[in-house]
């Protein structure tokens, strides 16, 4: 046990929050959680709800596992982590079905598939099992934000270029682009374009931050 108390938002703790947003982003740097990033980024609104769902699941699971970390028998730790994640995911799914039915239909199986999102197991095993609840909570929020940030950027471009709307609001129609012969790009709606969009984000990020480029 540390004898001196750390301030809640010490620079070390803040780093847990900000690191996953850029230099240690779970999607663009660690390349985890790609599958859901491809599937639910057609529209902005489901992407935002998905990001918030992952945040809720990851932050709470991280705190629970971290609080239990000394009493979890190492031999069954992976199963315990899975049970905690699965419980949280089912709760989130139930809440969405009750309070955001339309979005829960659009997200369909992908809420359930948060269980298999590699970011979650990765954070629980690598961070929460070895750290105190508060840093684990920040780590969860940070990593989920990093995941959500990419999701929202991708969804922004896919919805704008693919459907000509943002949050369902027809922005391109208002600008009068359609009268000039512009048409929505149907390709943006299909999953491959999500992959290409993420690829472009990774490209931009690495050309700005050369230290991320592997030898």
């Amino acid at each position: 046990m540390d004898s001196e108390r750390e301030p809640l938002f010490s620079s070390k703790n803040l780093k847990l929050l900000t690191d996953p947003l850029s230099d240690n982003n779970p999607i663009t740097v660690q390349v985890l959680g790609i599958c859901s990033a491809l599937a639910i980024t057609v529209k902005l609104k489901p992407a935002i709800v998905m990001a918030l769902s992952v945040m809720a699941v990851l932050a709470v699971s991280n705190v629970v596992i971290s609080a239990l970390r000394k009493s979890i028998p190492p031999r069954i730790r992976i199963i315990v982590q899975l049970v905690v994640i699965a419980t949280m995911v089912i709760l989130v799914d139930q809440f969405l079905k009750a309070f955001a039915y339309d979005i829960s239909k659009q997200l369909s199986v992908f809420v359930g598939l948060i269980i298999t999102n590699c970011i979650l197991m990765g954070r629980l095993e690598a961070f929460a099992m070895a750290n105190k609840p508060w840093p684990s909570f920040l780590d969860g929020i940070g990593n989920a934000s990093g995941y959500g940030l990419i999701l929202i950027i991708v969804a922004f471009f896919r919805e704008l270029l693919g459907s000509g709307t943002l949050m369902g609001f027809p922005v391109l129609e208002k600008t009068g682009l359609y009268h000039m012969g512009y048409e929505n790009n149907g390709l943006m709606i299909l999953p491959p374009m999500a992959l290409i969009t993420i690829g472009i984000i990774i490209w931009i990020q690495r050309s700005k931050n050369r230290s991320l480029i592997e030898e």
């Binding site: 000394k70 139930q94 149907g186």
Partner: protein
């Protein structure tokens, strides 16, 4: 790392599972009424869409009560089945039964201009999962007034196009009987409907299997209503 005995591991698992089970059952029980309400509202919105009335989650209940005047359940011989609530009939269950055992719900609607419409539910299989919807007829019991289809898992941009308004609009003014009064349903034609044909609509390019599923669904569900439709036509004469 500490060494844990087998007894401890066993105790730990049992307690963990117990807490999780209590938590999940409590959540499921508390949220169930809200979830069922959502499903019901969606059904009402869907029924309204088949008579070309757009509704939102908020006004669906009010509009439904305003436009849907009467419901009943018929069998495939054209007789009315008493004592069954049409709205609570689950089509997913009905289509698994043989035709002569099915409960076939009918909704009657009166529009603002006084026109009467008859709405029947549809359910069938698409390519990846169930497809379902409602189709409404004019009170001549053969001309389609409107149709709405939904899907859970069809491919976006291809099969899922059956849920778009532009695809559904094709069904308006089509008829499910031919010139001699024989029931032929609606054909979802690959390569495009014959121009001017009253029984055909365009299939979706790239969505052949979903289109086929849709055609099979129309054939399967509507055929059960034909005897009852004929009875109504006779009464009108």
């Amino acid at each position: 790392m500490k060494d844990f005995s087998n007894a401890y591991i066993f105790r730990f698992s049992v307690i963990l599972i117990f807490i999780v089970a209590v938590l999940l059952s409590a959540a499921a029980m508390l949220l169930q009424p809200l979830q069922e309400k959502n499903v019901e509202l969606e059904k009402k919105q869907s029924i309204l869409a088949s008579i070309n009335i757009e509704s939102t989650r908020k006004n669906a209940e009010k509009l439904y009560d305003k436009y849907i005047k009467k419901t009943l359940v018929v069998d495939d011989q054209g007789n009315i089945k008493k004592g069954i609530d049409a709205f609570s009939v689950d089509m997913a269950e009905e289509i698994r039964k043989p035709h002569n055992k099915r409960n076939l719900p009918v909704y009657f609607s009166t529009l603002d201009n006084g026109e009467k419409k008859i709405i029947v539910p549809l359910r069938g299989k698409g390519l990846w999962g169930p497809i379902y919807g409602y189709i409404s007829f004019n009170d001549d019991y053969k001309t389609i007034y409107g149709a709405t289809f939904n899907n859970d898992k069809e491919t976006p941009g291809l099969g899922a196009e059956i849920s778009t308004r532009s695809f559904q609009k094709q069904f308006q003014k089509k008829t499910i009987f031919d010139k001699n009064g024989k029931f032929i349903s609606i054909l979802v034609k690959k390569g495009g409907a014959t121009p001017g044909s009253p029984n055909e609509v365009d299939a979706i390019s790239g969505g052949t299997l979903t289109s086929k599923g849709l055609q099979a669904m129309l054939q399967d569900c509507l055929s059960g209503y034909v005897p009852w439709f004929r009875k109504q036509m006779k009464q009108q004469k």
